[in-house]
Each structure stands twice: as structure tokens, then as C-alpha cells.
Amino acid sequence: MQATMEKPLLELRDVAKVFRLASGEVTAIENISLAMNAGELVALVGPSGSGKTTLLNIIGSLDRPTHGDVCLQGERIDTLSEERLVRFRREKFSYIFQDARPLRMLNVLENTLLPFNFFKPADRNGKLKEEGIEIIRSLGLGHRLYHMPNQLSGGEIQRVAIARALITRPLVILADEPTANLDRENRLFVIQTFRNLTREKGLTIVFSTHDLEMAGIADRVLHLQDGTLVKVEDGDCCPCPSN
């Protein structure tokens, strides 16, 4: 995990986000600089209000920083037009939300293939459905392909969200508290899946959590407090005291 020779996939330089409200300014995050490589699993931890969601949104181009640069593959993305951003999100990012809630009127397979209702990836002809089924099977939901969301458990719903995130073959997956509403078994399943995906497919996944056990599975854990990065640790050696 020492300095790699290749350029980082994702880079944030001195990023800050200030919300201007009628009642004054709120600095959600500031002075954040970090780099992530392809195939890394990164956890964001910190108390409530420390800026985890804000940081994830900025990394994922859902929000723009008020200061600093965000680069993906060496290209600045924080200054792209909204139109370019839509294309960008389609091709490079996938999101998993705490309250995943697949669309109620679509079944598991349809929800997984939902992104393709809005765009067709140029380089992939046909076979999308087969690929969707394959992904769902790999997540252990093969027997639920045609079930509706209201027939699924919380853990199964989150797997649908993962399947939907994977179907577009993104570079980066951003997950804001993806395990918050799950029991331990399902939490472990989700984070282990993330881990396998980063290892085997070279995906970069950033997730936030309040659960230090889950964070410990990540390659790196970023500790946020009051909007600043206070500690970066190697998750794999979490149980051991670090220097």
C-alpha cells in the first residue's frame, strides 16, 4: 500500500464545502486532500454531522465543492457542466444509498436493469439481461429475479441496489451508509461483496459507516471529524494498535 507508481484514479485537492444558509454559513468539510487508486476499498467513518455524506457526494460528482479540485483519471470533474456530468455519472459512477428503495413497480431484474432505460452503453451490445441475471445470481438472489421489492427483505433490497450499481460497470461505487439498516450477517455480506469486487474486478468503492467492524474490512479507513480528515489508517491491521 505504499506509493504506487501509477497515477491515482481519484484525487481531491484541498477540498472544502461551505453551505450558505439564511442563518449563516455552515462548513461541512474543509482541507480535504486524498487520492484513491483503482481496486481500493475505502471506508469513511466519523460522528454524525462530521461530513461523510458531503464528502461522498463531492467525490461522486453529485455535488460541487466550494473550494479545491476533484479529478477522476486526471480530469477535473468539479467544473463540468451539468450535461457532461449526467454522461459522466452514467459511465463512471454508481451509487448505493442507505435507503436504497428500488422502484416499487419494477421487479428485481427490472430494477437491476433500470439504468438502461435511460441510456445504452455504446460498447455493450445485447446480453444485458443475461448479464443482469448473472450479477443477481452472484449476489445470491437468483431465486428472486422476478419478485417485487415489497416481497424482499432489507438485506435482499440492498443486494438489488448493489446489482443495479454493478450493471453499468462503473469505475467507482459510492455507498452512503449501505449497511445502516441491516443485521450483522447482511452487513458482513455487503462489505465482503465490496471487498471481493475491488479485489477481483478492480473497482474502487468508497462507503461511509458508523460500524467500525465493517470499516475494518476496508483497505483504508478515513476518519472525519468536524469536516476534516483527522486520521487515515490501514483497515486490515485495525485490530492491531498502529504507530
Binding site: R101, L103, F118, M148
Partner: protein, 420 residues
């Protein structure tokens, strides 16, 4: 195309979600449709009646200032009934000729039939002239107006006449002239004197069998005893004279006014007057009623539409997260907007179509229950109107909030606790 499927799936798989909206539009469209059907059908029916009946023109003897002065007990005159003044029968052909000439001339000047919607081609039938002779006498010691009529012609001209009891004298197919000693009695007179159908009354020594009691028409007819005109002429010693002539113009928009002017100008000793006949009045009344109802319904629908807007806005806000999700997975704002527009287009279309059908049903029920008696006609343009109204309401209701909601940043859609 995929987006359309997405919209339709939402409707098909969760139909109850939009029940309120659909219901409101169905009711609104049904109300307007049924009102339109009933009113246009009723109007057309009335117009057809007018086209059959036309205007009625009446010819009375002239009452000059001077003759009004020498009103004696025998020459009592009301606006409708003139006593003591007569038109000699021998000038009737002259009156008829003059009338026909004026109608024909007026008709040609107008360029023939002035078409009214819903009325087919009309040939001018020869007019029917109904003569009357009024006389005053007493019945069981009380004064009574006895009117001699030709029952067949009278019934044709006063087509609104109806019997409260008894029967018209008919042969196989139509009203015939009553028998020498048959009579009909006005509704009020019948009540006042306790004379009903089947009774026999003796007038000036001649017995008459009362064949029927006329329904009240709020005219002088209600107070009269009707006997055959020849019998009346004999009874009052007025052979060769009549008190009144009525004619029903047998065309729509007949130039009856022209005929009236012509008659008054060319024939001395008579006054011709024309009234818009009963059907015309009915027509005006019905239009008034329709406009009133339309105003009420429109106001109600306006209120309903406002509440539809609220309902739709509310249910759309409940879908804020869905909007955020769609945008996060790569839907552009325009695509999200299209989902809602397609959805509401389909909703409006369906509601409009259902409302149209319900409206037809309501029109049938209304027509039967309110005894409007119109022959219902459903114009195809009503369907287009129903669909347009449904789609307009539905799409407009979603457009404004959708425009606003799809503009919200993705991050905001997940931050706020939107109601569900």
C-alpha cells in the same frame, strides 16, 4: 420508448395510487359530457319540433278605438278572446292567399331554408288554418265561454294540447272532427263546475257529451267549453263567421313576420299577430337552464381541478427520492420529466375515455329521470373534448410540480425527509 414502458408499468402495477386523480377527472368529464349530450339533444329535439311546428300566427277582427268604446255586455274583449266582432268566412281564402304569397316571397328573399344544425332538409308543407268562434252563454245558470272549433285543425295548430282525461275522437290513424254533439272542456272550467269526461252538458238546449278534459295550458283555453264550430255557428246564429284564425307555419324560420305585415296591410278589418310559439320559448328556457348548469358544473370542476393539483403535487413530492434515484443512476432531468408526463398523459386519456362513457350513461339516466324526452345524440366531437379535457387536467396538474421537483439537486432529494 423504454421510458414510456416505465411510466405505463407504474400505472399498471400500482393502479390505486392515482385513484383520486382518475376519479376526479372521470366525474368532471362525465358531468360535462352528459350535460352536453342532454342539452344538445334536447335543443335539437326542440328545434325539430320548431321545424315541424314553426311559428303560430293568429288573425283577429280589428278592434278600433271606436268599437272599443261601444263595448256592451256582449262585446267583452280580452287580449286573447274577442267577442262581438267577427271575420266573415268568405274572406278566409283571401287571407290564405295573402299569407302564402308573403311566406313564399319572404322565403325566397332569405335564400331558402336557413339551415339549423341537426335539422335535415325541409319541404314547406301547406299551412293549416284553424278557425274559432267564441260565444258567451250560460251553463246551469253560470256564464260560460263556448268556443266552436274544428277539432282536427285545432289539435294540429295547438299541438301542445293534451288531455287530462277522456279521449280524442280518432279514427284509425288520426284525430277526426268531433261528432255533432261531442265537446271538450278546459281544465279549470272542468274543475270549477265539476264536469268530467263522460258527463253530458246542455248548452242553450243542446246536449253535448264531454269527451275529454284538456290539461291546463295557462291560457284562456282553460276556461272554455269546446264544441264543433258548425254547432257553435248555429247556436250563436253566426253562420259564415269566425272569431279567430290561427295558422301554424310549417317551416323553421318561416318569415311569419312578413306574412303578418302583409296581412295587416292588405286585408281590412283584421289584425294579424305572430308569437314565437311554445317550442321557441322552451328552447330559450332550456338554453338558459343549460348555461346555468354549465356555469355551476364549470365552477365545480374548477374547484375539483385545484384539488387535483394538490393531490398530484402531494403524491409527486412523495416520490422525491425516486426522482433522486433516477437521476443518480443516469436519468437526465428531461427523462424524469417525461416519465411523469407520459404517466399523466395515459392517466388523463383513460380518465377522459371512462368519463366520456360514464357521461353517456348519465345522459341516458338524466334524460329518463328528468323526463326530458329528447332523442339522445352523441356527437363524436364530445369524445375528443372529453379526452382533451382529461389529458389537459392530468398533464397540467403534474407539469408544474414535476418541473420544480426534477430541478432539485440529487443530494437534496436524499437529505430531506420527504413525506411518503
Amino acid at each position: 420508448m423504454k421510458i414510456l414502458v416505465l411510466s405505463l408499468l407504474d400505472l399498471v402495477r400500482r393502479p390505486r395510487k392515482n385513484l383520486m386523480l382518475v376519479l376526479a377527472i372521470v366525474i368532471a368529464v362525465a358531468l360535462l359530457t352528459s350535460l352536453s349530450i342532454v342539452s344538445t339533444s334536447a335543443n335539437t329535439t326542440i328545434l325539430e319540433v320548431i321545424s315541424k311546428t314553426g311559428h303560430t300566427l293568429t288573425v283577429r277582427p280589428v278592434i278600433t278605438e271606436r268599437s272599443a268604446d261601444d263595448i256592451t255586455s256582449d262585446t267583452l274583449t280580452t287580449s286573447e278572446v274577442v267577442f262581438g266582432k267577427y271575420i266573415p268566412e268568405h274572406i278566409i281564402p283571401e287571407i290564405e292567399r295573402s299569407y302564402d304569397k308573403a311566406i313564399k316571397a319572404g322565403w325566397e328573399r332569405k335564400g331558402g331554408l336557413v339551415a339549423r344544425p341537426g335539422i335535415g332538409e325541409i319541404n314547406i308543407e301547406p299551412p293549416t288554418w284553424a278557425p274559432r268562434l267564441y260565444g258567451k252563454t250560460s251553463l246551469d245558470g253560470n256564464p260560460v265561454i263556448v268556443t266552436g272549433v274544428d277539432f282536427y285543425k285545432e289539435y294540429f295548430v295547438r299541438f301542445w294540447w293534451d288531455l287530462a282525461s277522456g279521449e280524442w275522437p280518432t279514427d284509425a290513424t288520426r284525430i277526426r272532427q268531433a261528432g255533432e254533439n261531442e265537446a271538450f272542456i278546459g281544465g279549470v272550467l272542468s274543475q270549477a263546475r265539476g264536469i268530467g269526461a263522460g258527463d253530458t252538458v246542455t248548452v242553450n238546449g243542446t246536449p253535448f257529451k264531454v269527451m275529454g278534459v284538456l290539461q291546463e295550458t295557462n291560457s284562456a283555453d282553460d276556461y272554455m267549453l269546446f264544441i264543433p264550430i258548425r254547432a257553435a255557428q248555429r247556436m250563436f246564429d253566426k253562420a259564415g263567421y269566425v272569431s279567430l284564425l290561427s295558422v301554424r307555419a310549417m317551416c323553421p324560420n318561416c318569415p311569419v313576420g312578413d306574412a303578418m305585415v302583409e296581412l295587416n296591410k292588405t286585408i281590412t278589418g283584421i289584425t294579424a299577430t305572430s308569437q314565437l310559439d311554445i317550442a321557441g320559448v322552451q328552447f330559450e328556457f332550456f338554453n338558459m337552464l343549460y348555461n346555468f348548469l354549465l356555469a355551476v358544473v364549470t365552477a365545480t370542476i374548477f374547484v375539483a381541478v385545484l384539488s387535483i393539483f394538490n393531490v398530484v403535487t402531494g403524491s409527486l413530492y412523495a416520490r422525491t427520492r425516486e426522482i433522486g434515484l433516477l437521476k443518480a443512476i443516469g436519468a437526465s432531468r428531461c427523462q424524469v420529466l417525461r416519465i411523469f408526463l407520459y404517466e399523466h398523459f395515459a392517466l388523463g386519456f383513460t380518465s377522459g375515455a371512462v368519463g366520456y362513457l360514464v357521461g353517456i350513461g348519465m345522459a341516458i339516466v338524466l334524460n329518463a329521470f328528468l323526463d326530458i324526452g329528447a332523442i339522445l345524440r352523441v356527437d363524436s366531437h364530445l369524445l375528443w373534448r372529453a379526452l382533451a379535457l382529461g389529458i389537459l387536467c392530468s398533464v397540467l396538474a403534474v407539469f408544474v410540480p414535476a418541473l420544480k421537483l426534477t430541478r432539485i439537486k440529487i443530494t437534496e432529494t436524499f437529505r430531506t425527509q420527504w413525506e411518503t
